[in-house]
């Protein structure tokens, strides 16, 4: 039946209620897997706790495998799902700035909201920082405009850009992920334990 809301199987008024419900689950999962503590998040860069990597890759893989099976069985039509647009240099430069922000601040927007919910003051400051960052971007929009709109390759998927078979890609990606998980555990054993 494909995505239910755009196909009007569920009337559009429900979308905000569904958003809240999805948000509740999202917040619950993030918080209980420990993403509300910035030190656990930063552990992925310093080797003492690779929770972020594990959660991130498992979530991506499970959703990818699930969606591909549903697409094969005809329950969802992958071509009508929203694909994040590919602005090449915007993604690289934006990603670089976000990377530094991640290491410095210790949060990403989703996890900072979880931390705000349980009363972390640094998270609140972080969220205000994000708002200031957004404000700066919009004020200096003319400066960022060429990057922001340049090198647009459309909402393409890896299948279009690399011409690979999605099933094979997922299979190899899963094997790579398992290898990374094993390596990551070895690294964690060798790195000095940090109690947080």
């Amino acid at each position: 039946m494909g995505p239910l809301l755009p196909n009007d199987i569920i009337p559009f008024e429900w979308s905000s209620i569904i958003a809240i419900v999805i948000g509740i689950f999202f917040g619950f999962i993030l918080e209980s897997s420990g993403f509300s503590s910035s030190r656990k998040l930063a552990g992925v860069f310093y080797g003492y706790d690779f929770a972020v990597l594990k959660v991130f890759f498992t979530a991506a893989l499970v959703s990818l495998i699930g969606l591909l099976y549903m697409d094969y069985l005809g329950y969802v039509d992958m071509s009508s799902l929203y694909v994040h647009p590919t602005y090449l240099w915007a993604a690289i430069i934006g990603g670089a700035i976000m990377g530094i922000g991640f290491v410095a601040g210790g949060f990403c927007p989703g996890t900072s909201l979880c931390a705000v919910a349980i009363g972390k003051i640094d998270a609140i400051v972080y969220v205000i920082g994000i708002m200031v960052g957004v404000f700066i971007f919009s004020e200096l929009y003319s400066v960022f405009e060429p990057i922001y709109t340049g090198y647009f390759y459309g909402n393409i998927t890896l299948v279009d850009s690399l011409g690979i078979n999605p099933y094979w890609f997922v299979f190899l990606f899963t094997i790579a992920a398992v290898i990374i998980f094993v390596l990551v555990d070895m690294i964690r054993k060798r790195v000095k334990k940090v109690f947080y």
Binding site: P3, L5, P6, N7, D8, F12, G34, D49, V62, I65, G66, Y69, M70, L73, Y75, S80, L81, Y82, H84, P109, R188
Partner: protein, 202 residues
Amino acid sequence: MKELEKIKRISIVSILFILAVLIGLLTYKRPKNTYAINTEKTLEKITNNHFFITLENINTPDYVLIDVRSQNEFEKGHLEHAINIHTPEILNNSAFFKELKKSNKIAILYGENPQQVNIPFLFLYQLGYDNIKLLTVKNSYSQNKLITKTCDIEKLEADISAFINESVKNSKIKVTPKKTIQPPKKIITVQKKKKKAPEGGC
């Protein structure tokens, strides 16, 4: 890292997930007949090469004549050793067509007139049986004997504008050539509101 030891829940959930996928796969029944080519390819194929065949060259051995008319019309008269498959029953004997395709015989469809044969022809073509041809022939009965005349398709029989001008010329009274009233060029607003594209983003 105590939480890595807690494995009970992850095992239960992953087994449930794999079970769900297996159930989905087992209960998945492949649709009985599936299209082989999509609409763009079909359009391109039928407009480029022609599948018409005339009455003379149909007696070579690996041609199979198929009559798409109804049963009683078939009884009244049909070309020699033709097989009768009425259009609504095409899907029921798709096995017959599959077997035809395997033994790469060419199936020639014919009916009362080419327009009537066009429907089963295009339908079968989209299902992937591209070993079919269309007999451009018109069947009619006189004293219950079948007469088949070849006819051609999409041929403009009369030049209408010439007819109109000529009729205007020889009509006695001088008729101001009434400019056929051209209603304003119709420009169509197209609201593609069938499916709301899912907007998304971070």
